[in-house]
């Protein structure tokens, strides 16, 4: 990292610290706290973006050295950071989001004036940004864990920000517990690594896996997969995610879904590709399988939601799955000795990481704007918002197209890269395992199509047709800062979609670091306008070209209109209601109705439960009131976690015997433990 | 005529027809109308006969012609006719709901196919004609068994048995160059033929006694 980047990085970190302190100092004056806290966060984000982007673009990231942030007084702990290519890439993601989210928060936080502590919100937000940036940059296992814990803690506080609701408190606790189970695994993993290398510095871990005995190495893999998997929200460790993300303030939800779960991806990439050396085949197979399952299950559960933010949260699980598919394929290619393909799959996964960060944050911001305007997350009470919040609607629509992996936006580009790597993967081995690639590809296709269905529902039910409630009818457009925040992310979606080749250059130092390959030249042809698969003639795509061609073809219908429809007029009339006395919002299709076919087709998974009660005077066909209730079973809660919880509680009840309540008893425990340890040491 | 090319064509045709046999098997699994199932079985047997003819032609193995003709007469014409008559006599045209629904059974059969291919993989180099015929033969066997388990009507179970036998015959024909003796093939053939006729009578009797073909009702026989 050169002087310029390093200075800016220091500025960025400083801005976060200042924002945190400033917001706390001025918490009595909430307007000031808001401006100072989120203003400084914006400034920090801008510095971060420039710093990380320039480090990646100039290749400075490849030659960066580790330096100590501040001296440590504790033995074994060094507060050193190292902005290498991988760290810079993830730093870029969080900085980019920091800019958009902080600007958005300036407007969003106004909704809390008078009844919540905005200063605390801003301070925690800055703390979260700071801690997460440090997680990406930490160069020392213990420092990493400290940053990781600060991140988890500030995220917990932010999730519980609206703690007056019971749902929020429960979600916060669930998040906290799951997060710590994960951290415990990480600690064990790092201890194993320490055992092998004798140091906690990340530089000593590099390619360490090659020198470790197989059993230990596999244990490290599993521990980190589990530990980071909890954070990333991969199935079946995801249950905290759809609980915690929706209840947080929307700017925080965006940050959590956009970046926080990506710390898990960062950790896996760091450990699997940087530390572990040449992987055995089953690692890749495991990651690919988990990715595929997460993707499909995530989107299926998302379809069943009619809480807009929960729906988005389940989509995070889906997208983590897609990212893991890229990483898993990359591991398999590394095993079979195809570094170029491994780089392609890795790029596909990481490109999807930044894409998901951008469009998911955008969608959460849109959901926040809607929540701000209608005071509900329930889609069944929305509708017709496109006329009341037109600009938010455009941003949300672009986000929806992007997340559904439709051309020409960014989601399509990264999924295209994933498909390409899966397709090329078939030829890398002759064993049966190669069937994994096309089958995962088919599941990816299923995921994409279901995601499109889900976002037709999300956008259609929320924004289109008639308002379904008074709140929705009274909705108003979001303030300028909130729109600006969404606008920045919308622009990022379009940019990442239309100009992938420009962005792919930033991956060169990264793949150079992790797989020793630079692919951006091979990946783009025709002056960077066309993206091509790595293999010769493997296939090309140009989102920009397609967009331009769409514009070129636009004259066709326009000329037809001119030729034929010159004199035709347009009249606005009521929707066709079959000659009845007009349509009411009650007659519109609901979110629950929209996903019913999917619920029926996958009923083995969802186990839908339906209850209909009618009250009628003389015949059930002329009901006066109908009460309809429909649930799907949360399979993971009921089948895995509930029995687990039951077991733990039962075990705890047994252990309660130990808790005698007398001081002597506790002293004996400590004494006995000490004796045992001493004996063990002998 | 260029001999190597024509052998290649022969292999291609055999593989294709074997694959089609598999497709017919899948259709059988999804099919609930009895008469249609019988016709599907006839088509499958026709494909088998055609494969036998092609094999006989390319290997100048005259005894395989015998197999082809017997298959044609017995399994394309006689047995379907017999079963058809039976369906008309017992007046039941539709299978009741199988144990597993169609998509699930389909996916299971996909899995069984995979298994078949896996098991046959070590032998593929042995074959000269039809690369994966043996794999398909095995798959027919496995899916035939699955079909027997999955269905409740005695008649479909008979059909399933017949498809298993088709699988065995396909394997025999495919490995014909390694000298599966004609006697064995004929033995299997007549064995099954007699078995089916006995079963046919049995089906009729079950229907008479229980007013149903549901074999799960046979447990009422025990005292």
């Amino acid at each position: 990292m050169n002087e310029f980047s390093a200075t800016l990085l220091t500025f960025a970190l400083g801005a976060y610290v200042a924002g945190m302190v400033g917001a706390l100092l001025f918490q009595r004056a909430e307007r000031l706290a808001n401006v100072i806290g989120f203003g400084l966060a914006t400034a920090g984000g801008v510095c971060g973006v420039i710093s990380f982007a320039s480090a990646l673009a100039t290749g400075a990231a490849t030659v960066s050295r580790s330096f100590e942030l501040f001296p440590s007084l504790i033995p074994y702990v060094r507060f050193s950071i190292h902005a290498d290519a991988l760290g810079c890439f993830f730093g870029l993601i969080i900085s980019l989001l920091a800019v958009a989210l902080s600007i958005y928060s300036l407007g969003y936080a106004r909704g809390y004036y008078g009844h919540k502590n905005v200063g605390a919100l801003a301070a925690l937000f800055n703390a979260l940004l700071l801690a997460t940036t440090l997680v990406f940059l930490a160069d020392h296992a213990l420092f990493f864990l400290i940053a990781w814990e600060i991140m988890a803690l500030s995220a917990y506080c932010l999730v519980s920000f609206e703690h007056e609701h019971e749902e929020t408190r429960d979600a916060g606790v669930l998040y906290f517990v799951m997060s710590h189970i994960g951290t415990a695994c990480l600690i064990l993993g790092f201890l194993l690594l320490f055992q092998a290398s004798g140091s906690y510095g990340f530089d000593s871990f590099h390619a360490l896996g090659d020198n470790m005995p197989a059993g230990q190495r596999n244990a490290v893999f599993l521990l980190f997969l589990f530990g980071f998997g909890v954070k990333a929200g991969m199935v079946p460790l995801h249950i905290w995610l759809p609980a915690a993300h929706p209840v947080a303030p929307s700017n925080v939800s965006a940050l959590m879904s956009g970046v926080l779960i990506k710390t898990g991806i960062y950790g896996m990439t760091r450990v699997f590709f940087d530390f572990m050396g040449a992987p055995p085949n089953w690692w890749g197979v495991t990651v690919l399988t988990i990715g595929t399952i997460s993707a499909v299950l995530g989107v299926l559960f998302a379809l069943m939601e009619h809480d807009l933010k929960r729906l988005l949260a389940y989509h995070s699980i889906e997208n983590i799955g897609i990212i893991l598919m890229g990483l898993g394929a990359a591991l398999m290619f590394l095993h079979s000795g195809h570094p170029a393909l491994a780089s392609l799959a890795l790029i596909a996964g990481l490109y999807h990481t930044i894409n998901h960060a951008v469009f998911k944050a955008l969608l959460f911001l849109g959901a926040g704007a809607i929540l701000h305007a209608t005071h509900t997350r329930n889609m069944e009470e929305m509708g017709g918002l496109i006329k009341r919040m037109p600009k938010t609607a455009v941003c949300f629509l672009i986000g929806a197209v992007a997340i559904s992996a439709l051309p020409p936006l960014n989601g399509f580009v990264s999924e295209w890269l994933t498909y390409q790597s899966l397709l090329q993967g078939f030829g890398t081995t002759t064993s049966l395992i190669r069937l994994m690639f096309p089958l995962s590809g088919a599941m990816l296709a299923l995921t994409g199509a279901l995601a499109a269905a889900c976002f037709v529902k999300a956008f259609g039910i929320t924004f289109l047709a008639q308002p379904r409630s008074e709140h929705a009818r009274q909705a108003h457009e979001a303030p300028f800062t909130m729109l600006l925040g969404q606008g920045i992310l919308t622009a990022a979606c379009v940019f990442l979609g239309l100009f992938p080749a420009l962005f792919l250059k930033l991956f060169d130092p990264l793949t150079q670091q992790l797989t020793g390959q630079q692919l951006s030249q091979q990946l783009s042809t025709a002056n960077g306008l066309v993206l091509s698969g790595v293999a010769a003639h493997g296939g090309t795509v140009s989102t920009l070209g397609l967009t331009l061609m769409l514009l070129c073809l636009l004259p066709v219908p326009l000329v037809l209109c001119l030729l034929f429809a010159r004199r035709s007029k347009t009249r606005i009339a009521p929707t066709w209601d079959c000659g009845q006395r007009g349509l009411t919002p009650q007659m519109e299709y609901t979110a629950t109705g929209f996903s019913k076919p999917i619920r029926m087709i996958f009923k083995t998974l969802f186990r839908p439960h339906r209850e209909v009660q009618r009250e009628y005077d003389f015949s059930p066909y002329f009901a006066t009131t109908i009460r309809f209730e429909s649930h799907v079973e949360e399979v993971f809660q009921t089948r895995i976690y509930r029995p687990l919880k039951w077991l733990v509680l039962r075990a705890s009840r047994r252990l309660r015997a130990l808790q005698a309540g007398s001081l002597q008893a506790y002293l004996i425990y400590i004494f006995v433990t000490l004796l045992l340890l001493l004996l063990f040491a002998l | 005529m260029n001999p190597p090319v024509s052998t290649e064509i022969g292999a291609q045709v055999i593989t294709l027809m074997a694959a089609l046999m598999l497709v017919v098997q899948l259709l059988l699994i999804a099919q609930r109308m009895l008469l249609t199932s019988i016709r599907l079985f006839a088509i499958q047997s026709l494909l088998l006969a055609a494969i036998a003819t092609v094999v006989a032609y390319y290997h100048n193995a005259s005894h395989v012609y015998v197999v082809a003709v017997l298959t044609l007469l017995g399994k394309v014409f006689f047995l379907p006719w017999l079963l058809n008559r039976l369906v008309h006599r017992i007046q039941i045209h539709q299978e009741i709901e199988p144990l597993l629904n169609a998509p699930t059974s389909m996916l299971i059969c996909g899995g069984l196919t995979l298994l078949g291919y896996l098991v046959a993989q070590p032998f593929t180099s042995l074959e000269r004609l039809g690369n994966n015929t043996l794999a398909i033969a095995l798959t027919l066997l496995l899916t035939g068994f699955f079909l027997m388990i999955n269905r409740r009507k005695a008649l479909t179970q008979v059909l399933a048995l017949l498809t298993v036998e088709n699988g065995v015959m396909l394997a025999a024909v495919a490995l014909t160059t390694y000298g599966m003796p004609l006697v064995v093939e004929l033995g299997i053939f007549f064995d099954v033929m007699v078995a089916v006729m006995v079963l046919g009578i049995l089906v009729y009797r079950i229907r008479e006694s229980f007013a149903s073909m549901d074999t799960s009702k046979l447990n009422q026989l025990k005292g």
Binding site: A565, T570, P574 | L26
Partner: protein
């Protein structure tokens, strides 16, 4: 960059003009198989021309999305057509995207079509959108797996290259992988183009509709673009099927005029043959209940898996 404006223009024209004719031919043949005389094959042109000239009535609840959707549907269908080789390889826009882009663009069109169905606040439209997205979603894995099978064989996702790689001796086209993948894609074709047994294009009963239900609110030129777009999509999918699996007679780069002529004739003949198959299926089957459609599509998925297994053994 080898974009030939002439080829682009010609293929655009061919797509625009041939698509309604193909729909008309299918309707005519269907009528013939029902022992009717049937509308003339060029009836669809008359319909489209009339819709273009008529006034429009637009729902008061609809937003700009409703007006935007017909253009998206029409243009994406047209654009995908330019990436599929029709009478010569490479297709004019081969460079801009292969089969993945084709699937993606069609999905984009469907996305807006479904939004257009939801926009006017009519229950029928919502129902149509819901069903369309469901059917598309369960057809997608079979589609992608079948495409993967051919793409793996060809080592490319570029449709022109796939077509070129399957060119060769005719009997080679009879390999099981090919035939099974074709069967899988044929089923997907029926689902994607809204044909019996998945959807009934001629139904009048709103509750049985899928595709039509989304169009109930459209009128005038928007309806014309929707119908035309749907017919272009049908032509594109059928072209994809015949030229990927039976690229017989397809002219290569730099072919002579005579080769182009033969290619055009062969193309039309294959198109008619495939249409005949569609007509036979539509005439001899009843529409399935909505919840039976997954059975059919899971059969397509299994067929595609078998196709993949066959390639697995061959190479």
């Amino acid at each position: 960059m080898n974009l030939s404006p002439l080829a682009l223009l010609l293929q655009t024209l061919l797509l625009l003009l041939l698509a309604p004719l193909l729909s008309g031919v299918i309707k005519n043949w269907k009528a013939k198989l029902q022992n009717r005389r049937g509308p003339p094959p060029w009836q669809v042109y008359f319909d489209i021309a009339k819709f273009l000239r008529k006034d429009m009535v637009i729902s008061e609840h609809a937003s700009w999305v409703f007006s935007f959707a017909p253009y998206v549907v029409f243009l994406t269908a047209l654009l995908t057509g330019l990436m599929v080789p029709m009478i010569n390889t490479p297709a004019p826009l081969s460079l801009f995207g292969g089969v993945l882009a084709v699937v993606g663009l069609l999905a984009l069109g469907r996305f807006f079509l479904a939004l257009g169905g939801l926009d006017p606040a009519s229950a029928f439209g919502g129902m149509g959108s819901s069903r369309e997205m469901t059917i598309a979603a369960i057809a997608e894995p079979a589609l992608m797996l079948a495409i993967f099978t051919v793409a793996i064989t060809a080592g490319s996702t570029d449709l022109s290259r796939i077509a070129e790689s399957t060119q060769g001796a005719t009997w080679k086209l009879l390999n099981p992988a090919h035939v099974l993948a074709f069967a899988a894609l044929f089923i997907v074709l029926l689902a994607e183009t809204g044909r019996i047994p998945v959807d009934n294009p001629a139904t009048h009963l709103e509750l049985t509709m899928i595709h039509e239900a989304m169009l109930l609110e459209y009128s005038g030129r928007y309806l014309a673009f929707m119908e035309w777009g749907a017919s272009i999509k049908q032509l594109v999918l059928m072209t994809l099927l015949i030229n990927v699996f039976f690229p017989i007679g397809l002219a290569g780069p730099g072919a002579s005029a005579a080769a182009f002529g033969i290619s055009l004739l062969a193309y039309l003949a294959k198109l008619l043959a495939l249409s005949a198959a569609v007509v036979v299926v539509e005439t001899t089957n009843a529409k399935m209940r909505l919840f039976r459609a997954p059975d059919l599509l899971s059969a397509a998925f299994v067929l595609a898996t078998l196709a993949l297994l066959s390639t697995f053994l061959f190479h």
